[in-house]
Symmetry: C2
Subunit: 333 residues, 2 copies
């Protein structure tokens, strides 16, 4: 559990895209961010107040979150100077970088002096159990994709927003580092040891009130040969009551696998549902989320209509129109 | 790679079952074992020559393999005395125990003095790659089960034996600690970090001669909610040309999951084949291996005949009759 609110460290981001973790926090949990901290040459700007460390502290920030990718796989001395000063002022640090804070001797030393915590969200800090498959109270919905990086996290966060707007009782459950930084907790599933993957998902989505929905962030795809095992652990550990299919219609091959075509939505529906019903025979596919960012407004509209007619399920682009219709489908379940 | 041949350490095994790892080595790779080492009170006997450490050394043994489960989760002082003496004599040690040799300070110290290697086969010692899904030369067969512990390793080892007997070019590829100790190498797949599971299977089964078969040891089951992700990584990382279905017909529920019935062989066939064809569209299900240990001879015979007729595939119990018919099915592929 990362303590909120945050001050968002944008460092010397070379462009806005490098700060996409910070952007995600600002978009989805603006109440978690008191402001942004930018260094000389920073090319990203979230439109939040620029604060010094002292001002951030005064505004109540508990954690300095590294919301930007680093360059060249090293944590530079310029960053270090800021991070050490933050630790000395009593901030915790949180990071999803490949280079772990815990491997930087000077940061560890400073954190020990101040009693601050270093959160490396790529690395599990819990000994997860082996899944026992017991049916848990409460409801769960999982986003499953035709491919990696088609918008599963975005869909889940938009769904959470739409469900809250309807007054439904829901919690977004993060399974990757960006989601964990946005919400302050979760399981970095791709870094969990194989035998404990499904157990980690059970741990993440425990028994809850009968009307409560866990919205589980998806990972990978059953049809992506590099990561499919992670996806199946989500399906079996999450024992979802509902699945949302996610797709990006302009992709020519599976991400990182030039020899692999994307499966059809129908193939993903049938495969994911059959496997989900092993853990939860009542599971249903309730809707479709299409990432239409590479289509024109008109093409997006007609593609969504075509998919909706073909599969007989509400099909939306949550970025263009929100996820209200998906929330409605869940409410009717 | 564990250096062979071995001296098999049976310790103070309370019963023969406790020494099942050593039994597996003796059954499947007798040429790897120069003899057995038993302590006072040992209730297991492989029928191998009882050797002292010095005699084992003289007979050419390079590694003392702990072929027995320990009691109560600790490595006792009585064991330690033997293990340290073995290290001092220049033996390597190999173990699949949950307690790691590498966590025992006195064993580590002794190994450093003698320059011996400690092999903890439950723990990966390789940084596996992320799977890239590229089609590899050579052929691969994978055992997939209706459940865990239905005889997948046994089937794979029996198949390896039968294929060699036919003069086929094959290699058993271990994916669990017992298989690794039997053959001296492999990947402890259940201990690999999620993102690298399929890559570890690619690493284990690299490109090979066009007529060479990798016989990949299966793990878990697509229908076992605790471990299904590991099974799918085997299917996608292994890109098998052929699948063998494995089943134990008297089991009343999935292993460790009282609320879960076993799937039918047909359900496993359809699900495993559909998923396997993502990585290898030419994959076929070629045979069925039934563990009939809890059936009478007559019941086993009629059950095998019934399954063979129902699925239209050779169905054998490799323990009762060997795996020659499965090897034949592969040869005809």
């Amino acid at each position: 559990m990362i303590e909120t609110p945050y001050l968002l460290f944008l460092g010397d981001a070379p462009d806005p895209l490098a700060a996409k973790v910070a952007q995600g926090i600002k978009d989805w949990r603006p109440e978690n961010a008191v402001g942004q901290f930018r260094m000389a040459g920073c090319k990203a700007d979230l439109g939040l107040k620029d604060l010094t460390l002292a001002e951030g502290k005064e505004a109540g920030a508990r954690t300095l979150v590294i919301g930007v990718a680093n360059r060249g796989g090293v944590i530079s001395q310029a960053w270090k100077d800021v991070l050490i000063e933050a630790l000395q002022m009593g901030f915790d640090l949180a990071s999803g970088l490949h280079n772990l804070l815990a491997n930087e001797g000077d940061l560890v030393a400073a954190s020990q002096v101040s009693g601050s915590t270093l959160h490396d969200v790529r690395v599990p800090n819990v000994q997860y159990p082996i899944a026992d498959g017991t049916k848990r109270a409460g409801k769960r919905v999982l986003a499953v994709g035709t491919d990696c990086s088609v918008g599963k996290m975005y869909t889940a966060l938009a769904l959470d927003e739409a469900m809250r707007a309807r007054g439904m009782n829901s919690t977004f459950r993060a399974t990757g580092q960006t989601g964990i930084l946005i919400t302050g907790s979760g399981v970095p599933l791709d870094a969990v040891v194989a035998d404990f993957m499904a157990g980690a998902v059970e741990y993440l989505t425990p028994a809850n009130d009968p009307d409560h929905w866990d919205i589980i962030e998806g990972q990978g795809s059953l049809f992506h040969v590099s990561y499919s095992g992670v996806t199946l652990a989500l399906i079996h550990g999450g024992q979802p009551d509902a699945l949302i299919l996610c797709h990006e219609p302009t992709r020519e091959h599976m991400r990182g696998l030039p020899g692999y075509k994307l499966p059809t939505l129908e193939a993903v529906r049938d495969m994911a549902l059959t496997l989900a019903q092993v853990a939860n025979p009542a599971c249903k596919v309730v809707g479709i989320s299409i990432n239409t960012q590479h289509l024109s407004e008109a093409d997006a509209k007609s593609y969504l209509a075509e998919v909706e007619a073909r599969l007989g399920l509400p099909a939306v682009d949550p970025y263009r129109e929100g996820a209200a219709r998906l929330a409605e489908a869940l409410a009717e379940l």
